[in-house]
């Protein structure tokens, strides 16, 4: 089992992840249409780039926009959740040792207590994000089974990884569950709306160009996101 999930399945998962995202990227860019979108992408490039950059950067900064500041509690959850998801697996010591063993290179690693904190914080944030979905009528009405399933798909690798690392319960079971759920997550990224991992940037760039080129960017300092 271990050989299978770390061998062929890992290849499949990473291939789907990378090629899927490349396909998403190409599909998105090819689908942009200056006349239907009503944005002259090919002209006024300076304004377009500026608008896109402002649109992305403002939203990457915690509390960097009116909306992030308005929903201050939820914003905290969102950033803790996403920082945990991105930073922890990439800079985890265990993952990097594996990387070095298989590919001969590694990235700097987080001290274990930091990785633990990020993981636990991410899981707590996920719990509150889930509770918020149920508690607030304006979010409940939008919520579908799909949204909850995706949240579970994302949390499971962290949960199982945490148990495996701390050897709580049956180590080999949790380790395989961790690898498997991680691979499910990787596969889900391009195939579901987890694709926002990439599409966030493209969508934000597009609306930024829209405002930068067409909706006022040439006559103002830019939209105060």
């Amino acid at each position: 089992m271990y050989e299978f999930v770390t061998g062929p399945l890992a290849w499949i998962a990473f291939s789907v992840f990378f090629f899927g995202l490349i396909w998403r990227f190409v599909w998105y860019i090819r689908g942009l249409n200056w006349q239907l979108d009503r944005v002259s992408y090919g002209h006024h490039t300076g304004y377009g780039v500026k608008g896109a950059a402002r649109s992305i950067v403002s939203w990457l900064i915690p509390y960097g926009t009116h909306s992030w500041r308005f929903y201050s509690g939820f914003t905290l959850l969102v950033f803790v959740f996403h920082i945990g998801i991105i930073i922890t697996p990439i800079f985890l010591l265990g993952h990097n040792l594996l990387l070095e063993e298989r590919w001969g290179f590694r990235l700097p690693a987080l001290p274990d207590p930091v990785a633990d904190t990020l993981t636990v914080a991410m899981m707590i944030a996920a719990l509150f994000i889930m509770l918020r979905r149920i508690a607030l009528p304006e979010v409940r009405i939008l919520t579908t089974f799909y949204d909850i399933a995706l949240l579970l798909i994302v949390v499971t690798p962290f949960f199982t990884g945490f148990l495996a690392y701390h050897q709580i319960g049956d180590y080999s079971f949790w380790l395989i569950a961790h690898i498997l759920s991680g691979e499910i997550m990787l596969i889900a990224v391009p195939l579901t709306k987890l694709s926002h991992a990439l599409l966030f940037f493209l969508s934000r760039a597009q609306i930024g160009m829209d405002y930068g080129i067409k909706r006022g960017g040439m006559k103002s300092q830019g939209l105060p996101w």
Binding site: W34, D37, F74, S195, H196, S203, G216
Partner: protein, 460 residues
Amino acid sequence: MPEGILCNKTPVDTVEQLQALLADKSGKQYYEEMKLLDVDTPALWATIQKSLKSRLRTWLEICARCGMCADSCFFYLANDRDPTQVPSYKIQSTLGDMVRRKGKVDNAFMHYAMDTAWSRCTCCNRCGMYCPFGIDMGVMFSYLRGLLFSQGFVPWELKIGSGMHRIYRAQMDVTTDDWVETCGWMCEEYEEDWPGLEFPVDKPNADIIYTVNAREVKHYPEDLAEAAILFHLAGENWTVPSEGWEETSLAMFAGDWVGCKKQVESVYAAMERLKPKRMVVTECGHAYRATVIEGPYWAGLKTGQTPVESFHYVEWVAEALRTGKLKIDPAKRIKEPVTYQDSCNYIRNAGLRECAREIMSYIAEDFREMRPCGEHNFCCGGGGGLNGIGRYREQRNVGLKVKRDQILATGAKLVVSPCHNCWDAIRDLEEIYHIGIRWSFLKPLLLKMVIVPEHLRPEE
């Protein structure tokens, strides 16, 4: 497939069709017929496949269902935080479902989509500023309106409005003769008080070509006179075109993209014909949005720019005050508290916030901002065509509460509103809620406080 005599999938292109619709008071028969109107689902799906591209598909797909758009919507706030007013819910339950069902929707669905697209969204685009993914539901509702229009599910007034543009190249039945006569009449009416006043029609190579809203011609001709007087006082070399003078677009509110194209092309043709240095449009928000911001795309102009550089009236006023073409008598500035209604169409969606502030700094001593303001301001409550639709009067009136409370919080009794739609909405909110406010365009205010140069004063 049954189509009504009045309510059908055919746009209004003849005077006969238009008169038949107008004769149907309040659209009574029209809406009865709509209840039986079939949906041409293959055509609907074909249109969606052709026009729903990666931007909109992505928006529909990746929406995180987080609800961060909720509080951005004035309808949500005005309706006691009704969850069905959350922008994401509104677009997912209409356009979203339509796409997921591959266009296989029925008459009841189309009624729901129409009511949502026109009475629960004014396409103010505020929600798009609050979505982490930049999902602009105003843009999507505008797109949905186009689909609904193509299937004949469009409010009666907007079917008429789009027909007016198709027939008269104006939102009202104002002909070229009516327009040119009104210009002449206004000039005669005021030239005694303003010696040398001109209303030049079709003057080639002028510095400014001035374009208007047909309502001014039909119902408020003094607005045209005020514009002429202010240009006269500022010493501008200006003109109006005999054809292509109308900037508004009820066709845009209706989702009639063919009508939109015809309308803006008439204005662009006037620019090409008269070769002015620049164009200035009257105090109307959606007119500017339609002709200057969106219009070039309808007309297929790849740079996204109008044939000559185009300015909203507030840009011209700000410039005239800045350069001293118009001088304000300090004694006559507005002394009382005054606030400014930021129009979604030329502030949020065209970046003219600072022009408005600059003007207020010249004309007002106690200017008070609404909260929020500028690009983040709330829609007046009547945008996107909603003011004019009888079927949705009640929903409109509830929505006005947000603007009412914003104005009340400033303590100002005077609202400067250089946008026809906002002006109407604020007038109506005073009629309904009696909060004791007055409202005004810029032109009458400026005329009261501008210094008239010696040589332009009437002889005693």
